[in-house]
Amino acid sequence: MANNTTGFYSNPIVKWIEYRLPIFSTLDHVVGSQYPAPKNLNYWWNFGSLAGLCLVIQILTGIVLVMHYTPQTSLAFDSVEHIMRDVNYGWLLRYMHSNGASMFFVAVYIHIFRGLYYGSYKAPRELLWWLGLVIFLLMMATAFMGYVLPWGQMSFWGATVITNLFSAIPVIGEPIVHWLWGGFAVDNPTLNRFFSLHYLLPFVIVGVVVLHVLALHQHGSNNPLGIDTKGPQDKIPFHPYYTIKDLFGIGLFLLFFGYWLFYNPNGLGHPDNYIPANPLVTPAHIVPEWYFLPFYAILRSVPDIWFIEAKLAGVIAMFGSILILFVLPWLDTSKVRSAKFRPIYKQLFWVFVLACIGLWYAGGQPPEGMALVIGRVCTIYYFLHFLVLLPLVGWFEKPLKLPASISEAVLKGDAAPGAAGSKA
């Protein structure tokens, strides 16, 4: 620890602090000039820092919203309306928070699919991938509980339906549900604990993000070619090259965010959530927020399987669809990371994306007719992709020839034809 890092800085105040607390050199090594990153990262590598930005926005807006919100069943809905109508800039802060959640999921979903396409989950980055999945699970729990807080109809019935999932567990299901509720239905105790956890979990996410970044720095970023960096000629310092690139991406992302925030702030929500919660009347069509629709589709697509009734089978399939991602590094038997050099996997990846879009569509429709068929076909394909296709493709696929190094591929410019996807 006692390495002399002060000589690196010229500002006397920075020097004075650095001598006592090596904060500047630490930052430099995490996101600064002392962190070498592969020189060929494309724009798909922007979404990690964008997700980080979203987390910061959610925490900041959340903290100030709590200054005006009341977690009590008879007051919660009105306190949200109070924020919208009376609190200075309350409407802006609440819309930033509710739409910010959607932006967070946009960034994280693209970040995950980036990882799937370029094989970022493969050795030696398995734990980095796991930590990312843990963040994803925590995000889903946080978003779900946050959606309950305004205590509208969708809040209440969404909470009822999702907590009832646990009643599918044999024997201990019902005690677990009563424990989650703190009563015999979703009520004030439920609202209070969801509020408490909704405030806590984002900080837990921050903690896991720190581990995620720590794991990232152990072997550095993956890159569009998926080959290891071989030396300094393959790398450029994170600052200023990627800080400025990330900043540019943030600018574009904020424009996208701004569209929803200022021109369509309720476009991603559901109008029924502007009706106060009523435990006696269920809305005709309960749908979760858009970012949960694919999982909701899987939940509803599964029929009775042998002796397992549909309710339990659906719950197992839904949780399984995420848990299966934890074993992905071992299901994918190919040693080649990037889909750029995997002609068959590359096509399967896009079919998989289509299946996810199909699930997303089916999750928003009532489970009948064509939507149910689409939901079932896509659910089967989702699991087929991971459990059958990926292990097999790794065996019989003949990967294209990998470039000798990043620097060779980048400088010759012909090893990665058209740099596919790099500027999309």
Binding site: V161, H178, P189, L280, I286, P366, P367
Partner: protein, 177 residues
């Protein structure tokens, strides 16, 4: 001599110190687990929630063919004054192909009064009355269909609508819970 003796004891059989370490560790672990329990149990229904677990309903205001929905333990309870036709339909289907077989007479105390927890056994939505194929209840969330006895007939729900514990206090008054 003494030195080699203790060394031998240290490698072959547990010493007094080993015993203290294991015992203290185990005792500490039990203590920590016991201290954890209040943090878990505080989330279970509290005394006041448990205390609010009965509701009385005056039946005299419910005409034949009408239903009343009351709130019991935060859940809706349907009290339905069934028509002759509904009772007949329910009894006729006692031997039909039921997912959760139960006879109508086992679900009522008096055939004209049907008391049900109005919570779909699938994922907890409130079914709509006098709707669906069997003119019983229909759940709008995921399409479960219940008959005039509140038995599951179609859709994803696994069980019949639950019958809560209730007692007739008088001919026109029941207490649920």
């Amino acid at each position: 001599m003494a030195g080699t003796a203790t060394q031998k004891a240290g490698t072959t059989e547990p010493t007094r110190r080993d015993f203290i370490v294991v015992a203290a560790g185990a005792f500490g672990a039990v203590g920590a687990a016991a201290a954890l329990w209040p943090f878990i149990d505080q989330m279970n229904p509290s005394e006041d929630v448990l205390a609010l677990s009965s509701t009385e309903v005056d039946l005299s205001q419910i005409e034949v063919g009408q239903s009343l929905t009351v709130l019991w333990r935060g859940k809706p309870v349907f009290v339905r004054h069934r028509t002759k036709a509904e009772i007949e339909a329910a009894e006729k289907d006692d031997n039909a192909d039921l997912k959760d077989p139960q006879r109508d007479e086992d679900r009522v105390q008096k055939p004209e009064w049907l008391v049900l927890v109005g919570v779909c056994t699938h994922l907890g939505c409130v079914p709509l009355g006098e709707q669906g194929e069997y003119h019983g209840w229909f759940c709008p969330c995921h399409g479960s269909v219940y008959d005039t006895s509140g038995r599951i007939r179609k859709g994803p729900a696994p069980k019949n609508l639950a019958v809560p514990q209730y007692t007739f206090l008088t001919d026109t008054r029941i207490r649920i819970g």
